[in-house]
Chain length 461, copies 2
């Protein structure tokens, strides 16, 4: 527990109305999508960058933990005050789109801006911000940058880090740092923005982000392929990407996921299919989209696709996407507890990865339905068990460890988009050598020698 005199000082910095320490608010800020709960001593809403600097300098001096929080939509506990201290919230004040610079195709935003609000604002002027995590309607750019969020469009357009041109941030000692510029190229000094991206709020507090924008492609088309087996579908994925076409998205559902959606929504899905792939292509010319789709259809059919449908309009496109968009909630038909991971492998390893996952499911006699962003090698793996049966839950965690091991064996990563936080910290030793962990630790110490900023996350001590 923090001494109340510290809370008084912090309240004096930001104004009493910008510090909450009542029970109701502490509970509201105690959780994220992991369903773990930790209460902070206070939630503080900085009004501007100088507040962030003053808060951090004070907390650094008095060894008070500080946890920056976006929308609390993370899957790994990155925004949870697991060791007490204060939570920094940006949704009250630091939530503005500061500028959309049409000439340079750049947006400048505060950390509390919601991803989809930015997308809408730039699309209204013909521009395009591609990163679209599933949380886009509520997650914030500050959180997206600190977790390096991905999304459906990553296959063609990459992830958050590919759009960050500059970051303003405050170090734990209060120093304000401008990293990067509104320029395509900048090689002066170390790439500080590069190390801040995906640092899960452990190195510095983001106060402003400059994002690259693209021209909005004029048209998009959607197609779906039905495959006899997952293996064939996974082969079609990497052969398509290597075949000279880069779809915006190439998402998959396996048989278990198809059945779950059908059982929940009765849409007439092909419940005997091994897998479905749904894909979007975009561009500025009808001929270009048609060329892309014809290449995709050819490769799909060469790899066991029995049916290939192209949506003729937006309604048909929405129909083709329905199963994918409703995959996650439908899986509850297989159990009340879902251990949902976001492992990612080189695309060519997808066929073997899925085979190994189903072998793990067989071994433990559980269900592991899979779906996700196969266009970039990212598979949402869902270990489903009965949450009320402790033996089943234990088995689920054993299975997850084997899921991670299979992923790492195939050259993959523990996390494609959710980060490590608390949830995956126990598995870091599987993915990194002691020397690599030592380097992470050295970097953490260089930014935050007193270990006050989101401490003890990512397997750091």
């Amino acid at each position: 527990m923090i001494d109340s005199k510290h809370l008084d000082t912090l309240a004096a910095i930001v104004g009493r109305e910008n510090l909450y320490s009542d029970k109701a608010h502490l509970i509201a800020y105690s959780y994220d999508a992991t369903r773990e709960r930790f209460e902070a001593d206070a939630v503080v809403f900085p009004r501007h960058e100088q507040d962030v600097s003053d808060i951090l300098r004070y907390c650094n001096t008095h060894l008070i933990n500080v946890v920056p929080r976006g929308a609390g939509s993370g899957f790994t506990g990155g925004a949870l005050p697991s060791r007490g201290g204060i939570v920094l919230g940006f949704e009250k004040h630091m939530n503005k789109i500061l500028e959309i610079d049409m000439q340079n195709m750049v947006a400048v935003v505060q950390p509390g801006v919601i991803n989809k609000d930015l997308q809408r604002a730039v699309e209204a002027v013909g521009l395009f911000y591609p990163p679209d995590p599933a949380s886009q309607e509520y997650s914030t750019i500050g959180g997206n940058v600190n977790e390096n969020a991905g999304g459906m469009r990553a296959a063609k357009y990459g992830i958050t880090k590919d759009y960050v041109m500059a970051i303003r941030a405050v170090r734990p000692n209060g120093d304000i740092i401008k990293a990067g510029k509104r320029t395509i190229k900048d090689v002066a000094g170390y790439n500080i923005a590069g190390i801040l991206i995906a640092s899960e709020g452990t190195l510095a507090v983001t106060t402003e982000v400059t994002l690259k924008l693209l021209s909005k492609p004029k048209m998009t088309k959607t197609a779906m392929g039905i495959f006899g087996s997952v293996k064939e579908a996974m082969e079609a994925v990497y052969k398509t990407m290597a075949g000279g076409v880069t779809p915006v998205a190439m998402e998959f559902l396996d048989n278990l996921t198809i059945r779950a959606v059908e059982q929940t929504f009765h849409k007439g899905l092909p419940v005997d299919a091994g897998a479905i792939l749904v894909t979007d292509v975009d561009g500025n010319l009808e001929e270009d989209l048609n060329l892309q789709l014809s290449i995709i259809e050819k490769i799909f059919r060469e790899n066991g696709c029995s049916e290939f449908k192209i949506a003729r309009d937006a309604k048909e496109a929405a129909d083709l996407w329905f199963a994918r968009r409703n995959a996650s909630p439908s899986l509850s038909v297989y159990g009340s507890k879902k251990l949902n991971e976001d492992v990612t492998v080189p695309r060519s390893a997808l066929p073997e990865l899925l085979e190994r996952f189903y072998a793990i499911a067989d071994k433990y006699q559980i269900k592991i339905p899979c779906f996700g962003h196969t266009g970039d090698g990212n598979v949402h793996t869902n270990v489903m068990v009965d949450g009320k049966d402790p033996e089943q839950v234990k088995i689920a965690y054993q299975a997850i460890e084997e899921v991670f091991q299979a992923t790492i064996d195939l050259g993959g990563t523990l996390s494609g988009e959710h980060g490590i936080g608390l949830a995956k910290a126990p598995y870091m030793h599987m993915a990194f050598t002691p020397e690599e962990m030592a380097l992470f630790q050295d970097i953490k110490r260089a930014f935050d020698p007193n270990n006050i900023l989101n401490p003890f996350k990512m397997g750091l001590v």
Copy 2:
């Protein structure tokens, strides 16, 4: 001078034939494109990563400076052993393309691979590695990664950092680090590859790089626009990029540069033009290229373009590119000494930037011909004086300082692609605050507490 017993130990690590300490070799490895010269105590050629680790561990223990060197083609002294010690060379052994993975569209290379050799190898199998610095025929991937090299195609395809998926590197203490994966997404642990890119060999020694490849676009077309004034041309640049088309390159020559090329090569160039823009577009469909060119022509003509030529074949394209490709050497007509900078600004600031540069030239009564990669805001600024006149040289350096100040005032960077090294170190205080320099210093210390790796570069101490 290093004690000869240290050289004996290093020779025992790599084999006597892989350590040069004779005068001729020390001279050969003493310079780069800056024409500064510093001799090392020895040049050592590691055979593999373990050699690099053993060398660094030994040098770290005995406080021997280590300077990794690519082709020595840098413009800022990054590869120069300015404080003695040993130079690490990769051209003897660690110069292999280890793998071209067609399925995942990835190349794995050792640091000594020459950029153009990689481009040729991947193009032979239909793939594409876009970064193409002017030094591409001799500069190495290790150097490209450590300097974050750009090139002509950056306007559409970005720079080296946009293609680095993973780096293997050795810390000064000998620890071997694998950073990143052969996956599109990876958010486990800090983004170590992100901070190693552009670190100018000061943090770790790169031993292997995994690079993202693209499909090779099927066709390219070249066009040239002639403009009445630089201002109009610069406005055409950013309006084109914001107009929904992304040319591969959009390069410019100003009037002084056009005249210099004409005086040297007599090609019938428009010597009264304010500026020329040369642009390439690419894609897989003739219609797409034609659409892009029609948008470019429209925007060019709306902004003072009096003549717009589209090359009908490869020979005509080479003709349109001739002036740009021969700009740099032609400038010697204006003086024997060239201070050549690579400042970069947000594209919309280009018109004012050029105006300020010409005002600086007027003030000092010197010539500052400019050309370069305007598609990404990067201007090669050439302060030309008589190198034998000390007063002129002094004036040139005053002008350069004002060039940097104008760039920074307009939101730009000291360097778009050449890095800081020794040459730009004196200007770092103009671009970075003491707090930002302190952070750079902290990061350097975290990786290299004994300050043995390429020390005293980038304005670090």
